[in-house]
């Protein structure tokens, strides 16, 4: 091994990895551009260049690059995934899809901040740099192939979001929310790291494919797969899942969610509820796929591993059911709109987890078609969830700008003063419940169908399916309560009213999101399903 061979290897690896990494590199360049613009005073008040403008330009370039990458994966059907940076990251259709998804969500959030005025121009660079840093972490989450990248990505996502939750630093609720979030988040990350250390030591490597191969070898040998080994493995996996469950706000690690969402501004709450959950789901899917191992040899996996994966699937299913139930029940008593949406976020995380649990059950038994349908359901639901949740949080932000309140009782008679916002909220809330013809209905249908098929293999999952359907019915009532206040309850004469006409920039934002919610449920079902199908084909091949 002489230095020349090593350098040639590094050069060839970088020449393929760096172009594949171009969206992330564009984001790094945007961070630097924001800093330099502030340093040289280019973005001061009155100049054409604004921090939001720089951010949108950078994100736009990154978006174009990732759409081109996604196109390469979906068009040429045989393009396999490849490793980036000597196997630290995996570059396949799944990665490309999540990059596009995250960039779209960031574009919508930056648009929302321009409409709602938080942050203002002076604090703009700080906020957007934190937002971009967190997005960079989420993109790494979606492509992680090594335990170090998994932990690094979670930290890169979480730490800027701690600061973003406390961004309105003069307000007492914001500082309290940020403190609780950072304390619990740091603890969860620490526990996850301890689990990673046990797992890496047990399997002798931290590279996910090698870990899967080593796990299969151990499971093959009955002498090795002894009691203590299995217990250590279980403890390590449980600790890692605890860390991921915290990011996904699953029961019983959901307690940070309502406080953080109430203390943060509505834009940041929207970001956390959509983008950070999507990144964490991508990470969970990657981790579960790594535990299952090489897909082509799925029939050769030993029975012990099949049992282990099946149990993980069942446990995830039960956690999903409990999370959805808890989120829906707790939302009933809320009077603050952001807390209600936080509990609704918790419940939706439960629904999306049902898709992952169905995927694990299918994979443990070798049914690749079923697994593909489960992942399709998850991806479709994430896409619809993006527009409907951002729509809801965006409308909350726009109303807050007018009446300076986030209590549901103050939304009375919104339909009279700003019909645009009320109709938008109606569409988004109907989609959150899952009423046709909105996109939420199609997403829920796909996930429940996958869960129903998985229950054929494991009858106990029928209980999870029934709980999911019942929860959808439960959730109808508290969403309808909000709409009832907006449309029917008479307003106090002296209360402030929100007047946002249709022909305004805010109206355009709400209109775009509402139309997207409906379109994903009607016209776009087939194309979105196609993209999801191609993405899952590449993941599982």
């Amino acid at each position: 091994m002489n230095i020349e061979t090593l350098f040639n290897y590094l050069k060839s690896d970088l020449s393929t990895s760096l172009p594949a990494f171009s969206p992330e590199l564009t984001i790094c360049a945007t961070i630097l551009a924001l800093l330099f613009a502030r340093l040289f005073n280019v973005d001061r008040r009155g100049s054409l260049i604004s921090p939001a403008g720089i951010t949108l330009t950078g994100i736009g370039v990154a978006f174009v690059l990732s759409v081109v990458q996604l196109g390469k994966f979906t068009d040429s059907g045989s393009d396999q995934g490849s490793g980036m940076f000597t196997g630290l990251l995996l570059f396949d259709g799944f990665t490309a899809f999540f990059r596009v998804f995250l960039l779209v969500s960031i574009i919508l959030i930056v648009w929302l901040t321009q409409l709602s005025g938080i942050p203002d121009r002076e604090d703009g660079p700080d906020f957007f740099i934190l937002l971009l840093g967190s997005t960079l972490g989420m993109m790494l989450m979606a492509s992680a192939n090594h335990m170090l990248m998994l932990f690094l990505a979670i930290e890169m996502t979480s730490v800027p979001s701690y600061v973003m939750v406390g961004f309105l630093k003069g307000r007492k609720t914001a500082s309290e929310a940020a403190l609780k979030y950072v304390v619990y988040g740091g603890g969860a990350a620490g526990v996850m790291l301890y689990g990673i250390s046990l797992l890496a030591g047990l399997l002798g490597t931290a590279h996910l494919p090698e870990m899967a191969a080593q796990l299969a070898k151990i499971a093959n040998d009955p002498a090795l797969m002894s009691g203590p080994t299995l217990t250590t493995l279980a403890i390590a996996v449980v600790m890692i899942l605890v860390g991921i469950a915290f990011k996904l706000s699953l029961f019983p690690f959901h307690f940070w969610c309502p406080d953080a969402f109430e203390g943060a501004s509505a834009e940041v709450a929207g970001f956390l509820s959509v983008a950070s959950k999507a990144g964490a789901f991508a990470l969970l899917v990657r981790f579960c796929l790594a535990m299952v191992g090489e897909f082509t040899e799925i029939h050769a996996t030993p029975a012990a591993m099949k049992q282990f994966n099946l149990q993980i699937g069942v446990v995830l299913g039960f956690v999903a059911a409990i999370t959805a139930t808890f989120g829906n029940l707790a939302a009933y008593s809320q009077t603050n709109m952001k807390r209600l949406l936080a509990y609704s976020t918790i419940a939706h995380a439960g629904y999306m987890l049902m898709a992952v649990s169905a995927m694990m059950i299918f994979l443990s038994l070798g049914d690749s078609n079923g697994a593909k349908r489960a992942i399709e359901g998850l991806l479709y639901y994430l896409m619809v969830y993006l527009v409907m949740n951002l729509g809801a949080f965006g409308i909350v932000a726009l109303i807050r700008n007018e009446i300076f309140s986030e209590q549901i009782a103050d939304y009375a008679q919104l339909a009279k003063s700003s019909p645009m916002l009320a109709v938008g909220m109606l569409i988004c809330l109907f989609s959150l419940v899952g009423i046709p013809p909105t996109g939420g209905f199609v997403g829920k249908f796909m996930i429940f169908a996958a869960m129903f098929d998985a229950a054929e293999y494991q009858p106990i999952m029928y209980a999870v399916f029934v709980v999911g359907v019942l929860n959808t019915v439960f959730s109808l009532f508290y969403y309808l309560n909000v709409l009832r206040v907006m449309w029917i309850v008479p307003a106090d004469e002296s209360a402030r009213t929100a007047e946002v006409p249709l022909a305004s920039r805010s109206g355009a934002f709400v209109a775009v999101l509402s139309i997207a919610v409906i379109v994903t449920g009607t016209i776009f079902v087939a194309p979105v399903q196609q993209i999801a199908e191609q993405v899952t084909r590449l993941v599982s091949s």
């Binding site: 091994m1 740099i129 217990t231």
Partner: protein, 262 residues
């Protein structure tokens, strides 16, 4: 234990000294008894320890000392009621962890632990403790029921982790071939065995792994850590900006156009 004539002599002197110490009422006349007790007991302890542990090496002794310091420091952090004392015990614990790293042939990691963790992060924590002190050494008491509950849960958790981890046959698990459970030499980690990790660490952070043979088929190829090394600098930049934003003084509301916003 070597129980010969000198052992019994020293034991008698120690017991006599202890008896005299306890029975003499006049405090100023206790000194000779105290001296006799301490000297005889000290010689007895050192001699018997040397006999019992005559096969232990210096590294094992150091291992035990540093390990005990880590554990007692951690217990000190948990049991202290005063946050300043907690900070002190944390320094003891983390400094001894660094000693353990040196003993585990991780010289660079041990040095980084002392410089960055103890010398940077803990100093920052002490700053935080001092800046948020609300009164002279406020103690916050926890109730006895909380203590009992914490003790029970923690011993259960500790027992669970230890019982499962101690039962694992680490050598066999790591080097398991399909159907073949013989152990192999850790040829790929020889630099770790010898303790010369500085150069291989440097190479690995640049993306090259001379310790892993890439030509041999079937051998796991090394992962080069260039990407995390560079991307963590972006992360530190973002974190720095976030912390600076939070720590900055609130700006004045009136801004004349053209002035910088700081």
């Amino acid at each position: 234990m070597a129980t010969n004539f000198f052992f019994w002599l020293l034991l008698v002197v120690a017991i006599a000294g202890l008896a005299g110490l306890l029975l003499v009422r006049d405090a100023s006349r206790r000194t000779p008894w105290l001296a006799a007790f301490l000297v005889s007991f000290g010689v007895l302890a050192v001699w018997q320890s040397a006999v019992m542990f005559k096969d232990t090496t210096a590294s094992q002794v150091l291992f035990s000392l540093f390990g005990a310091a880590v554990c007692f420091g951690a217990l000190g952090v948990v049991l202290s009621q005063n946050v300043v004392r907690m900070a002190f015990w944390l320094i003891v614990s983390l400094g001894s962890t660094s000693g353990l790293f040196f003993l585990l042939n991780a010289d660079f990691v041990g040095a980084v632990q002392l410089l960055v963790y103890v010398g940077g992060t803990l100093v920052l924590l002490i700053f935080g403790v001092m800046l948020t002190a609300s009164g002279p050494y406020v103690t916050m008491k926890t109730s006895p029921t909380e203590w009992v509950a914490a003790a029970v849960v923690s011993s259960l958790l500790l027992g669970l982790i230890l019982v499962s981890a101690f039962g694992v046959d680490w050598q066999a698990v790591d080097y398991a071939e399909a159907g073949n459970t013989t152990t192999q030499d850790a040829s790929a980690g020889s630099s770790v065995q010898e303790g010369t990790t500085l150069r291989p660490l440097g190479w690995a952070l640049l993306g090259l792994r001379p310790d892993k043979d890439l030509q041999k088929p079937g051998e796991p190829s090394g992962v080069g850590y260039l990407l995390p090394f560079e991307i963590v600098s972006v992360h530190l930049l973002v974190v720095l900006i976030g912390a600076a934003y939070l720590a900055r003084a609130k700006r004045r509301v009136d801004q004349t156009p053209g002035t910088t916003a700081l």
